[in-house]
């Protein structure tokens, strides 16, 4: 029997999340995901041909959905500032280019980023909870989160405990998500930080696991479910993104609550980004074609989006050196 019920037949998620057994029964009652079928659907949608004004719209939308990311040990304050400047105004020669959605940095760089984007629409996102592995105690994960939120982060990108998930300890994973969410609220009661939950699908291995982890995170209170840290290969793939988009769509059908998806890692070209937007459009629906509900976590993607955008407007490719590097 499938537990994926029709809109209107809303299960009590609070009750499900409170009980280890109920959570397991719910997640294992979800319909399976057929690998061949998912990949075939992805291939079919990849053949959509996006031209002219629909391409132009897609490129601008992809820029507005980008979380411009730098997550290197070598991130200096200067590098963070230059990234932020680019996020606010991707190319100063063309004021029509929209700002990106957010910059994404490590917790100890949040304060610098907050200062650098002040006055703009760009949000500051911070990874937390012992990113990227998540292998530390809950106390330290919560402290990590608090550090970022108190420094002014608008959004927190946490990682789930993949070890616990794969061992079947769903309640532990759910409790951690709920605890981090609580910190997001408590540390900034006036404007709680938005919580993105990274599933690290490259370590979950099966689409069934991706679907279960998606629902687990949504039930536990994730505002956005995110594919990957970018530190594990494979990172985002169209197929796992498709499965996650199905989860948020089904969740919205059931509850009326619209949650988001973030595809992060490995998306480098405008062509790839447009293929993801086609998935968002045709799997989740037009409602999700919005930076509040879909994001790209990327660093080099923005440059190609700018290059392709210029090609659309001017009819010729720019020398890549016209695009400022970050």
């Amino acid at each position: 029997m499938t537990s994926l019920v029709l809109p209107g037949d809303l299960p009590d998620f609070a009750e499900i999340a409170a009980s280890d057994g109920a959570l397991r029964r719910f997640l294992h009652g979800l319909p399976g995901v057929d690998q061949v079928g998912v990949e075939r659907r992805v291939d079919a949608l990849a053949s959509r041909s996006i031209k002219q004004q629909s391409k132009r719209w897609a490129l601008d939308t992809a820029i507005r959905m980008t979380d411009l990311t730098t997550l290197e040990g070598a991130d200096s304050p200067g590098r963070i500032r230059s990234l932020c400047a680019k996020a606010v105004r991707p190319d100063p020669s063309d004021p029509d280019i929209p700002a990106v959605a957010a910059v994404c940095v490590y917790p100890d760089r949040v304060a610098i980023a907050v200062e650098a984007v002040r006055g703009s629409s760009v949000k500051v996102a911070s990874v937390a909870t012992a990113f990227p592995s998540g292998r530390t105690s809950l106390d330290i994960k919560l402290a990590d989160t608090r550090l970022a939120v108190e420094a002014g982060a608008d959004e927190i990108d946490m990682v789930i405990d993949r070890g616990a998930f794969l061992a079947g300890d769903y309640a532990k994973v759910a409790a951690e998500i709920a605890a981090v969410r609580q910190v997001c609220h408590d540390a900034a009661p006036d404007a709680p930080a938005h919580l993105k939950v990274i599933l690290e699908t490259g370590e979950l291995m099966t689409y069934d696991n991706v679907r279960r982890a998606s629902w687990l995170a949504l039930i536990a209170g994730a505002d956005v479910i995110k594919t990957s840290t970018g530190k594990v290969s494979p990172a985002a793939t169209p197929a796992v993104t498709l499965v996650m988009l199905q989860a948020v769509r089904d969740f919205a059908d059931l509850t009326g609550q619209v949650r988001g998806v973030k595809a992060a890692g490995g998306i480098r070209t405008a062509k790839d980004a447009i293929r993801y937007l086609v998935l968002v459009h045709e799997i989740a629906g037009p409602r999700w074609l919005d930076p509040d509900y879909f994001r790209f976590g990327a660093s080099s993607l923005l440059n190609d989006l700018l290059l392709q955008r210029a090609k659309q407007i001017h009819g010729v490719y720019w020398n890549p050196d016209r695009i400022p590097i970050d």
């Binding site: 029997m1 499938t2 994926l4 019920v5 029709l6 809109p7 319909p31 399976g32 995901v33 057929d34 061949v36 079928g37 998912v38 075939r40 659907r41 053949s47 959509r48 041909s49 996006i50 031209k51 002219q52 004004q53 629909s54 391409k55 132009r56 719209w57 897609a58 601008d60 939308t61 507005r64 929209p98 199905q246 937007l277 459009h281 045709e282 037009p286 409602r287 999700w288 074609l289 919005d290 659309q312 407007i313 001017h314 009819g315 010729v316």
Partner: protein
């Protein structure tokens, strides 16, 4: 053609600002992305192909082929009469001894050459097929043409290995094959017929359907390019009378027909007592069975592939959907949500999912059958989409609450129309699936492997797909039970339709007695 060009990008000029949709409301209509049709010269002189020459009909008559998406006349082609069929059979007969004596590996070379030429000219064939048939370019480009080439590649490999075809050593060809093919997959069905026939050493007279003759005539050019000996492939164009002339011709040794059950029965009556061999691939009313433990989202995709692929003009279409009762509402809800994303319209647009109905006649047949759906008490859902003003179009349609005895549950509609019924137990699903005069294909959707095997064993259908639908491969035999016909195409089984055991090896044996699978 001019209006087509007007919608294409005008070059490298700047895009007008006003055409960019506003950024607040999430709407994203894909701009038109039409495939260029100037790869094909429609104004050429379309002629039949007999004895290696492009010829007119002896009587000089012609008939038009129409683009079903626009009703524009694409070309006029010769109307073959008995005289022309007689010439074609004579050409095939005189080519037979040399072709039959050509070593298998040499025959294989011709087939490889044809396969490669089809790949090289894939875009031409895809555009022409879309224009003539009305099916979307996405399907001709990604399915029809690649599969047609694959059939030639596959059978090219068989040509020098016929000793292992299951007929004993040195099997012989049957002779001159008369082949009559339908309009739903014109070039692909031509390949299914010609490739095995040639690999086995037969020569052919083939007639494409009257509404879709153009890719067959373009294929004649490929035969010439491949230096295929004159008379090995002969292509005549015409309608039912031309087909009858092939069936009735005494020089034809074997008839291969794909098409409607009514015509198939007529052919079988016509050849009775003539000594001609026959294979028939006819209609279907396939059951697509969704169990409650299926991967529901992928099953929904399978339902769409099953009945809306090629506008439902598929003999093995999954036109009867059997859903386990406890997931019926969920599946139907997800299905209609999914169908809302289907793009219906210009078949040449690369984003089109559903093209035009092939002809006015077929459209009328679909309309009259679907009209009975409501009068017999079923609930009708159809896609709310705009249809082009000209051409033959039909909205994707789903009937729920269909009674098992309703006409839409019994008769082949051959259009984008799905009839949904329910079942409670596997036994009931099998009984309902088998309760049809047809037996061409079936689908099973469950995550439980043991159930797939058990149910598939009990389904009376020539092809059973598990967790997929409407997938074709030259290595896999295709054909039906009951009123869906007999004989198999593709795979080793398909060769037996074009081979007979060597007389010297098995003088008195009936045709299939030497085949190992006959004992199985």
């Amino acid at each position: 053609m001019d209006s087509e060009k007007a919608t294409r990008p005008s070059g490298h000029g700047p895009q007008p600002e006003a055409t960019v949709p506003d950024m607040i409301t999430p709407t994203w209509d894909y701009a038109p992305a039409p495939e260029a049709r100037d790869v094909i010269d429609l104004g050429r002189d379309w002629r039949m192909f007999i004895g290696g020459d492009f010829v007119e009909a002896a009587a000089g008559d012609r008939f038009p082929s129409v683009n079903p998406a626009t009703e524009e006349v694409l070309a006029e082609v010769p109307l073959a009469t008995e005289v022309d069929v007689d010439r074609a059979v004579a050409a095939a007969t005189s080519a037979l001894p040399t072709w039959q004596a050509t070593p298998g590996h040499e025959r294989g070379k011709y087939l490889y050459r044809i396969a490669r030429l089809l790949q090289e000219r894939a875009r031409e064939f895809a555009v022409l097929e879309t224009l003539d048939n009305g099916k979307p370019i996405r399907e001709t480009r990604d399915v029809d043409i690649p599969l047609a080439a694959a059939h030639f590649f596959y059978h090219a490999g068989w040509a020098d290995k016929l000793d292992w075809a299951g007929m004993g050593p040195s099997p012989r060809p049957i002779g001159v094959a008369g082949q009559i093919i339908p309009w739903n997959f014109p070039l692909l069905m031509l390949s299914w017929k010609i490739a095995p026939a040639l690999a086995c050493g037969n020569t052919v007279v083939i007639k494409p359907a009257e509404t879709t003759p153009l890719t067959a005539l373009l294929f004649a050019e490929v035969c010439q390019q491949a230096d295929l000996p004159a008379g090995v492939v002969n292509i005549v164009t015409g309608a039912g009378q031309t087909g009858s002339a092939i069936v009735d011709h005494p020089g034809v040794d074997k008839i291969a027909f794909t098409g409607s059950t009514a015509v198939g029965k007529g052919i079988q009556r016509a050849v009775a007592g003539s000594g001609k061999r026959v294979t028939l691939e006819l209609g279907g009313k396939a059951a697509n069975i969704i169990f409650d433990d299926a991967a529901i989202d992928q099953a929904v995709e399978g339902i769409v592939d099953g009945i809306f692929f090629n506008q439902g003009h598929v003999c093995c279409a999954g036109s009867r959907l059997l859903i386990q009762e406890n997931v019926h509402d969920l599946v139907v809800d997800k299905l209609t949500t999914r169908l809302a994303t289907l793009k219906v319209g210009d078949p040449l647009d690369k984003n089109t999912d559903l093209g035009a109905i092939n002809s006015a006649v077929q459209l009328e047949r679909i309309r009259s059958l679907t009209d009975t759906g409501e009068t017999e008490g079923a609930d009708r859902w159809e896609l709310d989409c705009e249809l082009p003003e000209r051409g033959f179009w039909f909205r994707p349609t789903v009937f729920t609450n269909v009674a098992v005895n309703a006409r839409i549950a019994r008769e082949e509609i051959f259009g984008p129309v799905l009839s949904v019924m329910t079942f409670r137990t596997p036994q009931e699903a099998i009984a309902k699936a088998n309760n049809t005069p047809y037996g061409l294909s079936a689908g099973i959707w469950t995550e439980k492997g043991s159930r797939i095997l058990k149910v598939a064993d009990q389904l009376r259908a020539g092809v059973v797909w598990a967790n997929t639908f409407n997938r074709f491969d030259p290595t896999s035999p295709f054909g039906g039970y009951k009123e869906s016909g007999f004989g198999r195409e593709g795979g080793r089984h398909g060769l037996s339709a074009y081979l007979q055991p060597s007389q010297s090896a098995h003088p008195e044996q009936p045709e299939r007695s030497a085949a190992p699978e006959a004992q199985a």
